[in-house]
């Protein structure tokens, strides 16, 4: 399946904070249940009810790729992801330091770095997220949907503003 042009889109407002994505990610990749191993983590501020799923953005000009002293990281165009060559990786964790999203995960028990591989084109986090807080969509659609939502918000707020003016 050609998935090179697809990306993960996360809408954190929709996230209910259930962390099923973390569970299925660790089962899919490591065959155990352990969120510490998950390539996606839901960061929470429980006191405010804010939940934000964080994972690799598969950056086009990726800091991890650029910074890796062993050249163990590279972009796979076909699958649209940045991937690690474990035969080359020296485990220095430079990628962990430079990733702006905290998406590079160092697994202490295995002494190695892991990252999202988009499950080779069928991301399990997407498959299991019933509220669709994570979607796997063509890159070209990301901006379009966002624009449409923003336009609706703008239109509605202008409607409210007009009503306020009418009241005054």
């Amino acid at each position: 399946m050609q998935t090179g042009n697809k990306v993960l889109r996360i809408d954190y407002e929709k996230c209910t904070g259930c962390r099923l994505c973390e569970l299925v990610c660790s089962v899919r990749h490591d065959h155990v249940s352990n969120p510490e191993r998950s390539r996606i983590r839901v960061i929470k501020w429980e006191a405010e009810g804010v939940y934000v799923p964080m994972t690799c953005q598969q950056c086009e000009d990726a800091p991890c790729v650029n910074a890796c002293p062993a050249k163990a990281l590279a972009r796979n165009q076909e699958l649209g992801r940045v991937e690690i060559d474990y035969d080359v990786c020296i485990g220095c964790r430079t990628c962990v330091s430079v990733c702006p999203f905290g998406a590079m995960n160092f697994i202490a028990s295995d002494r190695r770095v892991t990252k999202c591989d988009l499950c080779d084109g069928d991301p399990q986090c997407v498959r299991f997220c019933e509220v669709e807080a994570i979607e796997f969509i063509p890159a070209s659609e990301v901006g379009h949907d966002k624009r449409r939502k923003a336009a609706r918000r703008l239109q509605q707020s202008e409607g409210k503003a007009t009503a306020l003016l009418a009241d005054a």
């Binding site: 407002e13 929709k14 209910t16 904070g17 259930c18 962390r19 099923l20 569970l23 299925v24 089962v27 899919r28 490591d30 065959h31 155990v32 249940s33 352990n34 969120p35 510490e36 191993r37 929470k44 429980e46 006191a47 405010e48 009810g49 939940y51 202490a108 028990s109 399990q124 498959r127 299991f128 019933e130 509220v131």
Partner: protein, 646 residues
């Protein structure tokens, strides 16, 4: 072998701990969670112990499937001898605590003794520490949780805590985790308070092995599709449990003004749609949240829109809070319900019990049984929202004569108040009834009368009885995994076949409580949801344990029986109004005054009720006194209990 699970014994008096594996033969007999806790309680407590003394054992556990690749298995179970009832104490809650406990290395904790000064237990990756809690004693449930995280510099720590109610030994104080997940019933927070135990904090980074990971993953997807395609769960995921309120109140199943009416009139402000509106206004369109790995997301998030607590963030309210702060005291304001819900979450007290007991006091006040001297001048009339919320503060702080009296629970309070106050107390085995009115629904009445932890709707309630499902559908559900060819009736006012339905549900709910599954994922509100036939594969793929539907049923029967043995040991007598399988006289004597045509005038028939209990006992293998027949104990392998194997 996927099932390498451990149990930790923690003695707070000596500070000593020990760790044991859970043998597979024990697993096969009791599975885990509530069932294994019941075994441990029966084995680790002696007859007649003081529930608030060091000899009481506090058990905290996850289910067999908790932290595996099975959705909605995050339930934490807590058990001890109840300081409210003197019988079995048991509470069950969602959230994120139990899986974290599992990743930290344990599935069961047995906590005994009493610490000399306030402490909390910190468990992390197999290590158990008992730490000083002086700095967090006195804090609310959420303050304490965030303070523990700050102290240990880890935002991922999950804690099970008590609030001020537990510290003040309010007999129905609960244990809490997160913003509102509550192990609510039977005073487990009071037991923690008596042990000087403010919290159990856990943090785990270990693996939980999955026996057949890819199969477990695929099967879980199938399960989720089954769950999310259910209309009931879709509604639940939009409106939360308040949706039950709208339906139940419309036909007349909500007790109002304690027990004077069975329908709360003119209550538009506390209807589910209104609660949803407030959540949308204060949080936004996506305001539902859920427990670990669950797709039902049945809790709303909200901010209190006005009043003295305006702007405070909380989750819920549940159906129970609508009754506790809405119907029972006949206060019909959303702000009052949302504020009451917030206060109980912060104090750490059972909303169901406190709401029920305050509306009982309101009835006594209006009848003149309670005087204004006893209320310290508080005008405790029905419909007085301010007085209702003031009583919550007083009870949790044991303030004033009435606050202190009610904090001891209904029966002790009735003894202190005297006169005819006990006649008006709506309780079973010393625990207050939910705000639902069961006079028109014999099956539900049988459920609350016989529930093992005292009056309760989550032990054996055949809630689907209200749907008037065709007999064919009922038969499909209720004649598996064991055959049943007796009568069944689609009519909710009937007594026919109800004893079997309650017996079946009792085993179904015990099974999910052993597995750690939430009740919204089985035949509770939705008839199409998974049950015995669906569980063997989940268990096998995740743990490697081979169990047939009938074997799971047998485990459930066994676990229910050991709970019965505990209650009998502690003084359960069939017809005893304080400690028996019995209902308040008002169920038999006062007919329903409101509701649907077939509900008006309904009350429970004494003879038919007795007959239903007889039938129920016979299904369970009990004699007519409610004692297990010797052959039942033999069949269930319980002749040698307590067997001291763990």
């Amino acid at each position: 072998m996927a099932l390498k699970r451990k149990i930790a014994y923690i003695d707070l008096s000596s500070g000593k701990t020990k760790v044991k594996p859970i043998p597979i033969e024990i697993r096969k007999k009791f599975l885990g969670g509530r069932g294994l806790d019941a075994y441990l309680l029966y084995n680790h407590t002696k007859k007649g112990i003081d529930p608030l003394g060091p000899d009481n054992a506090l058990l905290i556990s996850g289910g067999l499937l908790t932290a595996t690749c099975a959705s909605a298995t995050a339930r934490t179970h807590i058990m001890a001898k109840s300081p409210l009832t003197g019988l079995l104490g048991s509470a069950n809650m969602g959230g994120f605590f139990a899986p974290e406990l599992a990743w930290a290395g344990f599935h069961h904790l047995v906590i005994t003794g009493r610490a000399e000064k306030p402490v909390y237990i910190f468990i992390h990756d197999g290590e158990i520490e008992i730490r000083d809690a002086a700095a967090i004693w006195g804090m609310s449930t959420t303050e304490a949780q965030w303070a523990i995280r700050r102290e240990l510099s880890d935002d991922e720590i999950k804690s099970l805590v008590i609030g001020q109610a537990g510290e003040n030994l309010v007999r129905f104080a609960n244990v809490m985790t997160g913003i509102k997940n509550s192990g609510g019933r039977s005073g487990m927070g009071c037991v923690m308070g008596s042990k000087n135990l403010k919290a159990v904090a856990v943090r785990g980074t270990g693996d939980i092995a999955i026996a057949h990971p890819m199969e477990a993953l695929e099967y879980n997807k199938r399960f989720i599709d089954q769950i999310t395609s259910s209309k009931v769960n879709q509604t639940q995921g939009t409106l939360g449990t308040p949706f039950i309120w709208g339906a139940t109140n419309s036909w007349g199943g909500i007790r109002t003004r304690n027990f004077q009416y069975n329908q709360c009139e003119y209550a538009d402000d506390i209807e589910p749609e209104r609660i949803d509106e407030i959540a949308t206004e204060t949080i936004g369109p996506y305001h539902m949240t859920g427990c670990f790995g669950c797709q039902v997301h049945c809790r709303a998030q909200y901010k209190i829109p006005s009043g003295p607590y305006a702007g405070k963030y909380d989750e819920g309210p549940e159906y129970t809070s609508q009754g506790a702060f809405g119907g029972e005291p006949d206060c019909k304001s959303a702000v009052t319900v949302l504020t009451g819900n917030h206060l109980v979450d912060q104090y750490g007290v059972d909303n169901l019990e406190i709401g029920s007991i305050i509306s009982w006091a309101m009835e006594l006040y209006e009848l003149g049984i309670l005087t204004s001297e006893q209320t310290d001048g508080l005008d405790l009339r029905f419909g007085n929202d301010e007085a209702l919320l003031e009583m919550v503060h007083r009870i949790c702080n044991r303030k004033g004569w009435l606050g202190d009296t009610l904090a001891d629970g209904g029966i002790p309070a009735a003894k202190k108040i005297g006169k005819k106050s006990f006649d008006y107390l709506i309780q079973v085995k010393g625990m207050s009834n939910l705000h639902s009115d069961e006079r028109a629904t014999p099956a539900l009445a049988l459920n609350i009368a016989t529930a093992s932890r005292g009056s309760d709707h989550l032990r054996s309630r055949p809630a689907i009885d209200l749907y008037h499902l065709p007999e064919k559908v009922l038969r499909k559900i209720y004649s598996s995994p064991v055959a049943y060819d007796g009568p069944l009736s689609s009519e909710h006012t009937s007594y026919v076949g109800k004893a079997w339905q309650v017996f079946w549900q009792e085993n179904c709910y015990m099974a999910v409580d052993c597995l750690g599954i939430c009740k919204y994922h089985t035949v509770f509100l939705g008839p199409t949801l998974p049950n015995f036939e669906d569980w063997p594969k989940v268990i096998y793929y995740n743990t490697g344990l081979e169990m047939s539907p009938t074997e799971i049923w047998e485990v459930a029967e066994r676990c229910n029986m050991i709970e019965r043995l505990f209650n009998l040991r502690e003084g359960l007598i069939r017809t005893d109004l304080e400690k028996g399988d019995m209902l308040n006289h008002r169920y038999f004597d006062e007919p329903c005054r409101r509701g649907a045509p077939e509900v008006i005038g309904a009350k429970i028939d004494r003879d038919k009720f007795k007959q239903m209990i007889d039938e129920f006992y016979s299904h369970k293998g009990l004699d007519d006194k409610g004692l297990p027949r010797p052959e039942t104990l033999t069949r269930l392998g319980l002749r040698d209990e307590p067997s001291q194997m763990l």
